[in-house]
Amino acid sequence: MATAVRSRIRTLKIDGRDVSAREDETILELAEENGIFIPTLCRIEGLSLVGACRLCLVEVAGMNKLVPACLTYATEGMEVFTDSERLRNYRRMILELLFSEGNHICAICVSNGKCELQALAQRLGMDHVRFANLQQERLVDMTHERFVVDRNRCILCARCVRVCDEIEWAHTWDIKGRGVDARVITDLDTPWGESDTCTSCGKCVRVCPVGAIVEKGRAVGEMAKRHDFLPHLAKMREAKK
């Protein structure tokens, strides 16, 4: 490990509670430390931060714009609000948009009951979707020996892309296309089973928050995922550098 750099301490308020922080701690880390819940989807401990899902946006006193808690560092005297009516509305609506984008029918999904999207929808009270489904046809790829990707369930959080690139160093996954046509692809959009780069390590399966990348042969509700390996691996990588 590199020698510890001395870090300055800040004090701030989150939802009216006084908390102290190192200057390199984000609002999200602090909230978790203090038992304050902020929803996230794209972020996963051990991978780089992209700030893409916008669920962790919070209000900061004196700032016009909402800021992503995952990427905003504590400053002295900062006053953060994580759970206003406005934020709750935005978060529910973002989830509605996700549900309207793809096929998220929990009852027939292998990840039913083990899905981060489903859990968030329940926790945040998103009980119906006001938008018409975009009815997109996205390819399902079953060519891999052990895994399946069903892009209709994908929420484009890019965790698979990041874990494959940053931890496995294979960079099999990437994103192609833009807007609602964006898709996760393997290699140069060739069948997963033919991939030269995929090591079949299965890390993408384990970090995928929904039922988009799963193991073959799982029945409805069977696809439990565990990504607790990730922080350890990420630490080891860092130490190696």
């Binding site: 992209v50 700030g51 893409a52 899902c53 916008r54 946006l57 714009k65 909402l66 992503p68 990427l71 935005y90 609506m93 973002i94 948009l97 996700l98 309207s100 984008e101 006001r130 938008f131 018409a132 975009l134 929420i155 484009l156 890019a158 990437d174 994103i175 296309g177 833009r178 807007g179 609602v180 046509d181 964006a182």
Partner: protein, 547 residues
């Protein structure tokens, strides 16, 4: 050698070369006019000159944009200040024959009309005057003098002081104070810094940057080199969209010429200051005009924006401090250094200094490129300079700022054009596109058009922009077809608020603007298209808007 002498020598040689000619016939060779005749008019004029044995006294030269694209192809004759419009190759012999006699009346374009007399040309001072493919002509027009002055007589801090004093603000749309940006990057400590020119002009109906690059490319290079000196960078990139082949060609040529004369490259003017410029081409993504996506694209990665902070001034290209300005911003730099910041600050309004180039498009008589002082009213631009609308239907609204901007109705036409006033009306200055619409345009369709644009240009990284723009587009389509209900309109407004407040980058944050501004000024048009849910059989309101 002292730069001023070096430049003066080139300038005087060029002047002598040109003084041999009694007449100059200038042919517009920018994309607007070229699209109508390619180089046929220039070739025909050259042939006519040869035929009439005037090669020694008449010079035919290609120049940049003269502005009044609606009347193109344009040709001008100097001396005499004569402008010809809608010229065809067949008119060449007549134009040449009329040089020392009477001008060809049937082709005359009135260059004393407000379109020309009301303009103040700083950025476009050389446009339509010099040959953009000839560096000597640029030097004759005081080109590279500002760079010489900066390198030999001024410290980097003094250069920045002049830019700060000028009050120049970013011309790409955001309006960030240029001097502040420069001083921020100058302050960053690093061995490597970069200067980037954003030429990824993508707003529908906007062609200011293309025209500047086609008409006066050296001006942009000079501005970038001065910026490099001021902030301590030795490398610059011009990020230009590939849809501008002529601008790219001229820029490439300009870089070659400037390097040949050691005005770019190593030890410019013998001062030890190195500055190189390379071109990077965009691949057709609008979002690459957003600075973090633009940098990702230059680095060879997918053009997706990333959250800021960190800002490019701190963490830019390859993690190094980077200065990103727009084409028009750099084009203002050389005149500011030459004439002083105070001179520039004397033009325009209290909060918006200098001039702004606008591209007039849509249902307006004088389609083309204009440059006016900040503070000119929209009415002056549309009615006097633009000549009003082309159709009987009459003026309805002007759209400024492209997909990030809004529609301004007739009752606000007396608003002066400056950053704050346009923002107050729910629009933005933007990069300078102005689309004029008459009463035949449906504002729901206008909003739908821009939403379709944002939807297909969203990179797809963040959820509100990716799915939100698609759902807004669907709702607008439903309303436009007469199938929408008041609930759809409410949902649309909620989505506008969500997408604006939660999107990751400027594209998403500003995507609802065309909807919000048309709802603000033309709400009755939306309401008229809604299905009347109060009537028992749920039929459309009795105004003939059923689809």
């Amino acid at each position: 050698m002292i730069p001023q002498e070096e430049l003066a020598k080139i300038a005087s040689a060029e002047k002598e070369k040109q003084s041999k000619f009694e007449y100059q016939i200038r042919v517009c060779m920018a994309a607007g006019c070229l699209s109508q005749h390619k180089d046929q008019i220039k070739l025909a004029l050259e042939a006519a000159v040869k035929e009439q044995g005037l090669e020694d006294t008449v010079k035919v030269k290609g120049v940049g944009c003269m502005g009044l694209c609606a009347q193109g192809p344009l040709v001008s004759v100097e001396p005499g200040n004569i402008l010809y419009e809608k010229v065809s190759p067949a008119d060449a012999a007549e134009i040449v024959a009329g040089l020392d006699k009477k001008p060809v009346e049937r082709l005359r374009c009135d260059n004393q009309q407000p379109f020309f007399t009301r303009q103040v040309r700083v950025v476009l001072e050389n446009s339509g005057v010099i040959d953009p493919e000839n560096i000597e002509e640029y030097i004759t027009a005081d080109g590279y003098e500002a760079l010489g002055q900066a390198l030999t007589e001024m410290s980097p801090a003094q250069v920045i002081d002049e830019i700060v004093a000028s009050g120049l603000r970013g011309r790409g749309g955001g309006g960030y104070p240029t001097g502040l940006k420069w001083s921020t990057v100058a302050k960053a400590i690093s061995d490597r810094k970069y200067v980037v020119c954003n030429a990824d002009e993508g707003d529908p109906g906007a062609f200011m940057d293309r025209s500047v690059l086609e008409s006066d490319p050296h001006r942009v290079l000079e501005g970038m080199a001065i910026a490099g000196y001021a902030i301590g960078a030795n490398m610059g990139y011009v990020y230009c969209r590939a849809e501008y082949p002529l601008a790219i060609e001229r820029l490439k040529q300009a870089i070659r010429q400037a390097k040949r004369l050691h005005l770019l490259g190593e030890s410019i003017f013998g001062t030890g200051f190195n500055f190189d410029v390379e071109i990077r081409l965009g691949a057709g993504a609008f979002v690459c005009g957003e600075e973090t996506a633009l940098m990702a694209s230059i680095e060879g990665r997918r053009g997706s924006p990333r959250p800021r902070p960190p800002y490019p001034s701190d963490h830019g290209l390859w993690g190094e401090p980077t200065l990103i300005n727009n084409v028009e911003t750099y084009a203002n730099v050389a005149p500011i250094i030459r004439n002083g910041g105070a001179w520039f600050a004397g033009i325009g309004t209290e909060s918006s200094k200098g001039t702004k180039v606008f591209a007039l498009a849509g249902q307006i008589k004088n389609t083309g490129l204009i440059e006016v002082p900040m503070g000119t009213t929209l009415r002056e631009i549309v009615e006097e300079i633009g000549g009003g609308t082309t159709t009987e239907a009459g003026f309805k609204a002007v759209q400024t700022g492209g997909p990030s901007g809004g529609c301004i109705p007739e009752k606000h036409l007396d608003t002066p054009v400056d950053y704050a006033s346009l923002a107050k009306l729910g629009s933005i200055m933007g990069s300078g596109g102005m689309i004029v619409m008459d009463h035949t345009s449906s504002m729901v369709d206008v909003a739908r058009y821009f939403m379709e644009f944002c939807m297909s240009e969203s990179c797809g990284k963040c959820i509100p922009c990716r799915v939100g723009t698609a759902q807004m587009y669907n709702l607008l389509t439903k309303i436009a077809k007469g199938n929408g209900t008041i609930r759809d309109l409410e949902l649309l407004e909620q989505l506008c608020d969500l997408v604006r407040s939660t999107s990751l980058c400027g594209l998403g944050q500003s995507a609802p603007n065309p909807v919000l501004s048309t709802l603000r000024y033309f709400r009755e048009e939306y309401l008229a298209k809604l299905v009347d849910t109060t009537s028992p059989n749920g039929k459309t309101a009795p105004d003939g808007h059923a689809s």
